[in-house]
Amino acid sequence: MRHERTSHDAVVSLPEPGTLRIGPAPHGQGRPGLVPITVTFTVAAGLAAAAGVVLFGWHAVRVLAISVSVALLVESLFNAMKGRSPSWSESHALLIGLLFACTLPPTVSWRVVVAGSFITVIVGEALSGGVGNYLWHPVALGRVAVQMLFHRELSPEHWPVLGPGHLVWGNLGRAAEMPRPGGRSSHPLPQDAEAWLVSRTDDLLRTALPTAPGAPADGLTAFVRDLAPSWWDTISGAAGGGVGEACVAALLVAAGLLIWRGFLRWPMAATAIVVAGAAAAVLPARVQTPDGMVASCTVPGLALRDGLPVGIAYVLYHLTAGGLPLVGLLLAPDPSSSPLTSRGHLMFGAIIGLLTILLRVEAGLPAAAYWALLAANTLVPTINRLTRRRVFGT
């Protein structure tokens, strides 16, 4: 007996034999897939780049456009040469182009952008075997390469950033030097200028701290009081920097997006930042004394002057300055060049944080965060070996 058909029995008939799809589990369950990962990272990088456009105007647009188009062009040429049909990795070139532009100062000449973008895509990605195979993050590789090739151009005395009232539409070329001390808060922008020339914070931190009349801690005080931009400036990006490096707030939002989508397991970024902070607090800061000698201020993080925690301010500048936020929040989480397991991620983040500060303070190296990321990438196979999980019952 067939069971009776009830009135609300479905109208759809059973599938014909041979129309059913077979295939391994999971069945009908959402997994992110590779394209959403690339898209999310691209959106995150786009946020940083957009902040750069606001801060640096058409100079930033120029850098971004050149970098992205070179990356896309080089990638498709490479694919054509290899006879591969470009698939989703095309959008990966977009991501890499964006990220590379984010690391550059907005005023850099087009030659640097073209060369760097080319190196990033060809050497960093294509020749290293592409996604999943490269050892070094292509963007860090490209950035370090142009730093060595065009050292002078990438380390100017002053970095311009658009002044208030001239955001997005202003011209970086019409810049006025920021008066010292006091900075922007106490001086309005001169009549005919549209941008400030500021000393970049990580340059300040790299070079010896300024002359101090008394104890080494006075050097820190002088730095925090007279030289360093305000805390709000470094977070919002008004302190200048690379196109995507400058605005820490945008980077934090981008990282939030990655964490929310599950592509950044936050302990990695957290350890990078915590370890960097600890290292900055502990490693001696070099301070010039009036007689021209370089003294070191031990445990600068604890320095107190007239009841002001200048040491903490100094540590915070380290964390928000230069490439560290960009590296820690957007570059390090790249799935391919980071370790496999969560514990590996912790070690990786710690290495990046520690090396960045070491290279800045001890070696005075420009683009320290990118060097640190490269070094950490190099250690990834070792980290993977150290953190390989033990199989149950073995």
Binding site: M1, L14, L20, G23, G33, V131, R389
Partner: protein, 474 residues
């Protein structure tokens, strides 16, 4: 946030690895169990997944009543087979189940005048001291009771083996398990008392020191009900899931049977797998290729308790063999999803015809979304191990587009037993079984999590399972 911390610092939720699946509202949650009207015929399989077939003990042409034995277990690994409904044996045929193709079965034409028999309510009398080991084994044997996840699957053989080898812990698994499969929870709600008492009796019979009921600690209402059912569990100690110190064991049992303690666990997938349960409750690691019995732990499904209780005889209760299976039938294409009590041997076609379709079906799955098997045709029959029937429509059935591995490490990070599925898939594709042995593929519990998390959508779990079988055969 918690999950990430646990991911990093190890045994969060009881074990390292695993993930908290995104919360979802199940369509079938809490729905009562309904009967499936008898189809016109059944093909009752004589064999379960790995065991040998039972020998037919009726002739073609014979009339049988519901519950009559039609297949006799000759070897210890086989189980008895019973006719789910009254009818006439018309042929010996071969059918496919989801896990195995071409198994012997008996075609049973169902008598048209068959009255639908409602399942007997289980009300274990309070004054019953409970069965001993012999009674349990006998009931399991005569009722052909099996357990989904245990090995051997036949409960009688399993209990005898457990008794012979001795165990310290018995764990009854009442965790939700895979998403979408909610039948276990409904059975738990309906038969909680019977489950807890059976658990105690089994613990007593096999001489275990501790008997645990593993429940989801996030499900407050159910946890409370379980706590009331297992009254002897002292309040306030229930969050302890590790092995208790001797003085903590309470034996103030008002009735016979071992004290059943609650083990409230995080419902981190795949917490419900026996190997993982043994690890998070007792803290022992099952060696690759072994079962939890090797480390002195017997893990049984809560729903097996229901089948065993039904197969037991007590005052006012006739033993009923295991002939039906409560199955979650769900999925976006199903018009009337729910929990159906389905006679073993019903074809999927008949099941789907009864529940109705509201969308064209693209994929029919036996089991859950993470570990189930997609079926190529609908002549596959429901067995004693079918836990779910999913029908997916075009919109929900995502065809994987395997990409290159991006070495994100999620598969390795999330594997509950610490395997490296990506390396194993490589070896499986190269067919390098010798090299694979060193990577212990036999430790895989086939939870399907690696395939689930892989952003490159690689068929990792399938590859590891293939290697596992190859290494086991070697």
């Amino acid at each position: 946030m918690t999950s990430v911390l646990q991911q990093v610092f190890g045994r969060g939720g009881g074990f390292r690895g695993g993930i908290f699946l995104p919360p979802r509202r199940e369509t079938t949650a809490g729905m009562p169990v309904q009967s499936l009207p008898p189809p016109s015929f059944l093909c009752v399989p004589l064999q379960y997944d790995d065991g040998p077939p039972a020998t037919p003990c009726v002739e073609v042409g014979d009339r049988v009543r519901g519950g009559d034995r039609i297949g006799r277990a000759d070897s210890p690994d086989a189980v008895d087979v019973h006719a789910p409904l009254a009818g006439r044996i018309t042929a010996l045929v071969r059918v496919d189940s989801a896990r195995r193709t071409d198994i012997p079965a008996m075609r049973l034409e169902i008598s048209p005048d068959q009255a639908e028999q409602p399942p007997t309510p289980l009300r274990v009398p309070d004054d019953w001291d409970g069965p001993g080991l012999d009674e349990l084994v006998q009931a399991a044997e005569a009722g052909g009771v099996t357990d989904d996840r245990a090995s051997p699957a036949g409960l009688a053989a399993l209990l005898a083996e457990t008794h012979r080898r001795g165990v310290r812990h018995v764990i009854i698994n009442a965790l939700p398990g895979e998403p979408m499969l909610t039948a276990g929870a409904v059975l738990l709600d309906d038969h909680l008392d019977a489950i807890v008492r059976l658990a105690g009796w089994i613990g007593m019979a096999v001489g275990a020191e501790h008997t645990w009921l593993a429940v989801d600690r996030a499900d407050g209402a159910r946890l409370r009900r379980c706590r009331i059912a297992a009254r002897r569990v002292p309040l306030g100690r229930t969050r302890r899931t590790r092995m208790p110190a001797p003085q903590e064991t309470h034996r103030a049992a008002p009735v016979a049977g071992a004290t059943v303690r609650l083990a409230p666990l995080a419902n981190k997938y795949p917490q419900h797998v026996p190997v993982v349960l043994a690890a998070s409750i007792v803290g022992v690691e099952t060696p690759p290729g072994g079962t939890t019995l090797d480390v002195g732990v017997l893990v049984l499904e809560a729903r097996t308790m229901v089948d065993l209780a039904t197969a037991l005889a007590w005052a006012g209760h006739e033993p009923v063999p295991m002939t039906h299976r409560v199955v979650t039938v769900t999925g976006p294409a199903v018009a009337r999803p729910g929990h159906y009590r389905i006679p073993v041997g019903t074809r999927f076609e008949d099941v789907l015809r009864h529940v109705g379709l509201r969308q064209a079906v693209r994929r029919v799955v036996d089991g859950g979304p993470l570990t189930g098997r997609a079926l190529g045709h609908l002549d596959v029959v429901v067995t004693k191990h079918t836990s779910g029937v999913l029908a997916l429509d075009r919109a929900t059935d995502r065809v994987p587009e395997p990409g290159p591995c991006v070495r994100c490490g999620w598969c390795q990070d999330d594997c509950p037993v610490g395997l490296d599925p990506q390396a194993l898939l490589d070896l499986a594709e190269r067919g390098d079984v010798t090299a694979a042995t060193a990577w212990h593929p036999r430790a895989c519990v086939e939870c399907g999590l690696c395939s689930y998390v892989c952003p490159a959508q690689l068929p990792l779990a399938e590859g590891v399972a293939r290697l596992k079988r190859a290494v086991s055969c070697k």
